[in-house]
C-alpha cells in the first residue's frame, strides 16, 4: 500500500484519540466556559492506575474498566471540591486552578510511579495488518481504538439526545439560571459533566499509552493536539471536536511522515494559528459572533 494511504490511516487512528480528548474538553467548556487543562493529567493518572493493576495480574479489560471508573470519580471530585469554589469568579481563576491540577497530578504520578518512561503493555498487536503481500498502516490495536471510540461516542450521543438526564445537562449548559428555575440542580449537572470528561479522559489515556509510552506528562502533547482539534471544531460542538480530532490526526501524520516527526508539534501550532486567523469561531460553531 502506498505511503500516503498508510499515513492517512495512522493519522485517523491517532485522530480518534485526539477526538476523545477534544470532546471531553468541549463537554466541560459547553457547561462551564472553562478550558479544562487538567484533562491530560487526569487521563495519564487513570492510565497509571490501570498499568499498576495490570502489573499485579488484573486482566486488561477489568483494569481498563477500573481506570475509567477512577477517571469518572476523580473528575467528579475535582469539580465538586476545587472547581466549584472558583465557579462564580472570573473564568481565569478556573483556568489557573485547572492548570494547578495538571501540575499537581503530574507531580504526584512522578512521586508514586517514578518519573521514568515506561512501556505500556498493549493488549493487541501494534503491527500492521497484512493483506496479501502488503502491510497496512493499521494494526489490530487501531481497530480496537475505533471500536472503543465509536462505542463511547454512541453512548454520549444517546445520553445527550435521548435521555432526560442529557436534556438536563444541555439545559444547564445553555442557560443555567433558567434551568435552575425549572428545578434542575445545575451544580450536580456540572459535577456529572466533569465526571464524564474524567471517564472519557481515562479512555483516551488507555488508548494513547501503548504508542506514546507512559510517563507523567505523556499526555501533554495529546492535550495540545486535542485542544487544537476542539478549537477547529468551534469549542462547543462535539461533532466538530470529532472531526477536528481526525483533521489533526491526519495532518500531523502527513507532516510527520513527509517532513519529519520533529515538525509535528510546530505543525499543530501552525494549524491552530491558521484556524484562529481564518475562522476564529471554528469550522462547526453555531455561535458566529464569538471572537477569540
Amino acid at each position: 500500500m502506498s505511503n500516503l494511504g498508510n499515513f492517512v490511516l495512522i493519522g485517523l487512528s491517532n485522530g480518534l484519540i485526539y477526538s476523545v480528548v477534544a470532546i471531553c474538553i468541549v463537554l466541560i467548556f459547553r457547561s462551564t466556559r472553562v478550558i479544562n487543562f487538567s484533562q491530560a493529567a487526569l487521563a495519564m493518572f487513570s492510565t497509571y492506575v490501570a498499568v499498576s493493576l495490570i502489573d499485579r495480574g488484573v486482566p486488561y479489560y477489568l483494569a481498563f474498566l477500573i481506570a475509567v471508573i477512577f477517571g469518572f470519580i476523580a473528575g467528579a471530585l475535582i469539580e465538586r471540591f476545587l472547581m466549584r469554589r472558583v465557579e462564580s469568579k472570573s473564568p481565569l481563576n478556573a483556568v489557573i486552578v485547572a492548570v494547578g491540577v495538571l501540575i499537581t497530578l503530574e507531580a504526584m504520578a512522578g512521586v508514586i510511579w517514578g518519573a521514568t518512561l515506561r512501556n505500556f503493555p498493549s493488549h493487541f498487536s501494534l503491527i500492521g495488518i497484512k493483506i496479501g503481500k502488503s502491510r497496512l498502516g493499521i494494526s489490530p490495536f487501531d481497530i480496537f481504538i475505533l471500536v472503543v471510540v465509536l462505542v463511547l461516542l454512541g453512548a454520549l450521543v444517546f445520553l445527550f439526545r435521548y435521555t432526560k438526564l442529557g436534556m438536563m445537562m444541555r439545559a444547564s449548559a445553555f442557560a443555567p439560571e433558567v434551568a435552575r428555575l425549572l428545578g434542575v440542580r445545575v451544580g450536580r449537572m456540572l459535577t456529572l459533566g466533569w465526571a464524564l470528561a474524567g471517564a472519557g479522559g481515562a479512555v483516551a489515556g488507555m488508548l494513547a499509552a501503548p504508542r506514546v509510552f507512559l510517563f507523567p506528562n505523556n499526555m501533554d502533547a495529546v492535550l495540545v493536539f486535542a485542544f487544537t482539534a476542539a478549537i477547529i471544531g468551534g469549542l462547543d460542538s462535539p461533532v466538530g471536536a470529532l472531526v477536528g480530532g481526525l483533521i489533526m490526526g491526519v495532518s500531523l501524520s502527513l507532516i510527520g511522515g513527509y517532513l519529519g516527526s520533529d515538525l509535528e508539534n510546530p505543525g499543530a501550532f501552525l494549524i491552530l494559528v491558521v484556524v484562529l486567523m481564518a475562522r476564529p469561531q471554528g469550522l462547526f460553531s453555531s455561535i458566529s459572533e464569538r471572537r477569540v
Binding site: M167, F174, A175, L181, L182, V186, L192, S286
Partner: protein, 262 residues
C-alpha cells in the same frame, strides 16, 4: 371565614421584603399576599421593582430583610430549584426557551422536579429512570395538548411564531402542576386577539392555582386580576381591586409621563 392556618397554607406571603443592590434600594419593605384561585397583578412604571419582586419570590434574589412565607413555611433561604419542587413556577420576561431543544424537550425539562432518581443512578440506566422519563414525557405531552401545541412537539422554538413560543414557555412552567405560577409580562409581543386568548387562558388557570402577573398591558391586567399591587420606586403605593386601583390618584400620578391609560 377560613381559619388562619388554612389561609396560610393556601397563600404566598411577602412580608416587608427589602432588597438592596449596593446603595440602591430596589425593594423597600414590600408586602404582598397572593392566594390560590386568584390572579394577583403587580404593576408599576418601568424600574419600579416588579421583576426584582419576582426574582425574590422565585428564589433568584435573596432579600436583605423581610420574610417570605409559602403555604405556611418560611422560604427565604430556599434556592429556585427547591421552590420549584414546592410548587412555585415562573415564566421569564422574554422567553428563556432552550433554542436547540425541541418543544417537547423544553417542556420535559420543566418537569425536572418530578424526578426522584438522581443523576448518577440515572446514568447507570436504572429501570426506574426509564419509567420516570416516560411518565414525565406523558405529562409534558398532555400539557402540550392542553395548550394546543401538539402540532409543534418536535419543532425547535426559534422556528415558531412568537405567540406559540410564549405558549411553550407557559407549558414548561405548567408541567409541574404548580400551586403558584409567576407570569412575567406574558402579553409582550402579542397581538390584541392573542392577548384576549391569553386572558381567557389565565382566568382558566386561576381556577386551579394562584397566578401572579407582572404586565404592562392594562386592559389585560384590569380584566383578569382580582387584586392589584402597584409598585413605584421599590415601594407599594397602592393595593386593591381593579376599580379601586383605577380610581386611585396616587397611581395615576405615578404613571404620569408613561404611555399607559389606566
Amino acid at each position: 371565614m377560613m381559619s388562619n392556618s388554612i389561609m396560610e397554607n393556601s397563600t404566598l406571603i411577602a412580608d416587608e421584603v427589602t432588597v438592596r443592590f449596593g446603595g440602591l434600594v430596589a425593594l423597600d419593605r414590600v408586602s404582598l399576599n397572593a392566594n390560590l384561585g386568584e390572579v394577583h397583578g403587580v404593576i408599576g412604571p418601568n424600574g419600579a421593582g416588579k421583576t426584582t419582586l419576582f426574582n425574590v419570590l422565585c428564589g433568584f434574589v435573596k432579600p436583605s430583610s423581610g420574610k417570605l412565607t409559602y403555604f405556611g413555611n418560611e422560604v427565604k433561604t430556599l434556592r429556585p430549584e427547591q421552590l420549584s419542587k414546592m410548587g412555585v413556577s415562573r415564566t421569564l420576561q422574554g422567553l428563556g426557551l432552550f433554542s436547540r431543544m425541541t418543544v417537547l424537550e423544553n417542556v420535559m425539562i420543566g418537569g425536572t422536579s418530578l424526578t426522584k432518581v438522581g443523576p448518577f443512578r440515572s446514568l447507570l440506566g436504572a429501570g426506574a429512570t426509564v419509567t420516570e422519563e416516560a411518565r414525565i414525557k406523558d405529562l409534558a405531552l398532555s400539557v402540550i395538548a392542553d395548550l394546543g401545541l401538539s402540532p409543534f412537539t418536535k419543532r425547535l422554538p426559534p422556528s415558531l411564531p412568537y405567540a406559540i413560543q410564549k405558549k411553550v414557555a407557559l407549558a414548561r412552567a405548567l408541567v409541574l402542576s404548580p400551586k403558584f405560577i409567576l407570569l412575567d409580562e406574558p402579553a409582550s409581543g402579542l397581538s390584541n386577539v392573542e392577548m384576549d386568548e391569553l386572558g381567557d387562558l389565565i382566568l382558566g388557570l386561576s381556577k386551579n392555582l394562584g397566578v401572579l402577573l407582572v404586565e404592562h398591558h392594562m386592559d389585560l391586567v384590569m380584566r383578569v386580576c382580582s387584586t392589584i399591587t402597584v409598585l413605584d420606586f421599590g415601594r407599594v403605593i397602592a393595593n386593591g381591586n381593579p376599580s379601586e386601583i383605577r380610581a386611585n390618584p396616587i397611581v395615576t400620578q405615578a404613571y404620569l409621563g408613561e404611555d399607559v391609560t389606566i
